[in-house]
Point group: C2
Chain length 396, copies 2
Amino acid sequence: MRKTRGHAVIAQGGGPTPVINSSLLGVVLGMDLRLDRSSQIFGALGGIEGVFQEEFQDLRSFTNNHWKAIAASPGAALGSCRRKLSREEAKEAVKILRRHDIRFFFYIGGNDSMDTALKMDEAARELSYELQVAGVPKTIDNDLVETDHCPGYGSAARYIAQSAIDLGADIRSLPTPVSILEVMGRNAGWLTAATMLARKRLDDAPHLIYVPEHPLSEDQFLDDVSRIYDRQGWVVIAVSEGLKKPDNQSWGLNRGHVGQDNFGHSLQGDVAASLASLVSARLKLRARSEKPGLCGRASSLLVSSLDHREAHEIGVFAAEQLVAGNSGFMAGIVRVDQQPYQTDFTIVALKKVANHEKLLPPEYVSKGWNDIRPHFRDYVRPLIGEPLKHYPLLPE
Amino acid sequence: MRKTRGHAVIAQGGGPTPVINSSLLGVVLGMDLRLDRSSQIFGALGGIEGVFQEEFQDLRSFTNNHWKAIAASPGAALGSCRRKLSREEAKEAVKILRRHDIRFFFYIGGNDSMDTALKMDEAARELSYELQVAGVPKTIDNDLVETDHCPGYGSAARYIAQSAIDLGADIRSLPTPVSILEVMGRNAGWLTAATMLARKRLDDAPHLIYVPEHPLSEDQFLDDVSRIYDRQGWVVIAVSEGLKKPDNQSWGLNRGHVGQDNFGHSLQGDVAASLASLVSARLKLRARSEKPGLCGRASSLLVSSLDHREAHEIGVFAAEQLVAGNSGFMAGIVRVDQQPYQTDFTIVALKKVANHEKLLPPEYVSKGWNDIRPHFRDYVRPLIGEPLKHYPLLPE
């Protein structure tokens, strides 16, 4: 293979996934193969912040063993950030890269990171600087458009579905009649929907699934819970942390003056705790909430091997495409076949992806917006890789 | 072996653990070996409630494969309950057992179950009915006295310590500077203390550990968090769900009129959410909370093989002792040696165990009551069995 000359910078943005470092390694190996020995591969430490701070780490010097361990670790190995750039700032960032003679820039991230990548690409054109920019998708929320799914989602889905099975085994065996499992995802219900994989028998948990794409009224919620409780005496519910009331207020606990963080973002979550209180108060049933939270996107023990492999391969693919001359794209996944599951990679213009959000399509949700329809399994099952662990009951 | 004649009943009480069914199988096999073929081994369904309802299931008829799967499942396979008996009720229960000609009764459970077992034993003597009663310990809280540790604790400790590692990997890599991990345990800090196993490097999570044995003031908490944050820019905190303020009020969220469930128990928990709000409001730091809750005691993926084996063996031991003529005891674990870890079983009078609670001894806790001292590792490390999964950092 004819080697290319030019330094590269890779950065990781937004919330980590259990396989974000697998993509990092994919990009590094993909570039290592294609760049000549005079070209350096840097990691920007702390996402795009690392570019502004000019904190670059040489990634070509690590041993294979070290890389293997890094690739199997949760958390963003390079460090991450949540900074959104203005056009001016993007220009600033490109100028810094120009000063370091960087020709290739990769951003591994979600919606916001794709916006940053897009602005960097545009700024480079504006400055007539030959910088090539690629986005590599990662998000447990699975909410990027123009890709069948996002690396990171399959592993997080496996974790939360297994947690729903475990919780069901516990709750069905003792008289805490109601347990509410809170699942990450502010606007998109993909991850919450994945808890449907926990079901094998008719009465398996979860019995109700609420995604954030549709508001939930107090009356419907209490009716739903009562109905299931009357039928079988125990209820496990999966709710998205972003679930809203009909007036568009969060179902989360009202924290008064501490309802916003110092960035002005309203604090999400604790929706399950709030709903559990409601069940206790109104239905007089013992109810509790569980919220694995970040543990669910950081567990390396439930990584889907398929997810891990795809995350790696999409990184290699992005490197290949960038060196081949493409720029301003995000690498995407196309599902070519379902039986057996087969995918291909593609490139998508960043401007089609940045700032867009792929919500869970209504056809996957039951009419009452309180459950996920069975055919969602066809979509999500391949992504979680290894089978879930189901438990037997005593014979009747 | 000379076979004994007499029917047996086994029940499971209180909250399940990931290995409670391993003890169940141990008792069944222990009895199966010692009872003649005319003797039956029943499971009471739903704990002591199953005795009152006379819901008995024949446990001798299951296949080995089925038992193997049951023993590896979380949740109480026989069903459980939280009923505490009066002396009169205990007499009632014994009369029911007498009517079924039951001679052996096992209760697998924690403090409350040991109280039930004790009362049953006393009621039988009072009624001059030859019933032999054994308690088999299980609790993730590890708070039973007269035993080195309790089956169930090792696995739950492994789950929560691994969760602390995972959370640390996530939080250290992105700027959500503070995350608070809520750990089960109302009065005893054993499980919260086990998060100290997550630490390998100097700056590893968790950086602060608060157990419920000592109250925590707002000032101390904010000082502690600020100090760690100033030092390294990110903080992971482990807190017990039972953590109290100096005025003995729970640190949990004040839920007003829904602060009690229908049994009059105050609703525990959401201590981490409450502390995260406080950090946001007072320190102006982005803070969040995670609360795996019941998922932590129901996960079969992080079962400690040692815990699983001990849970089984203590069940066999209890059966052996009961058939040998002992009654009114709980089987306990004695740590015989530390290097290598070696244990023995013993029997302890139920009256020494029932209604007692073993709190975390102060010598394991740092002077400021905000951390666990290093030598606690000697106690807890053997119990979690398989090693935790630690992650590498990028080389400096």
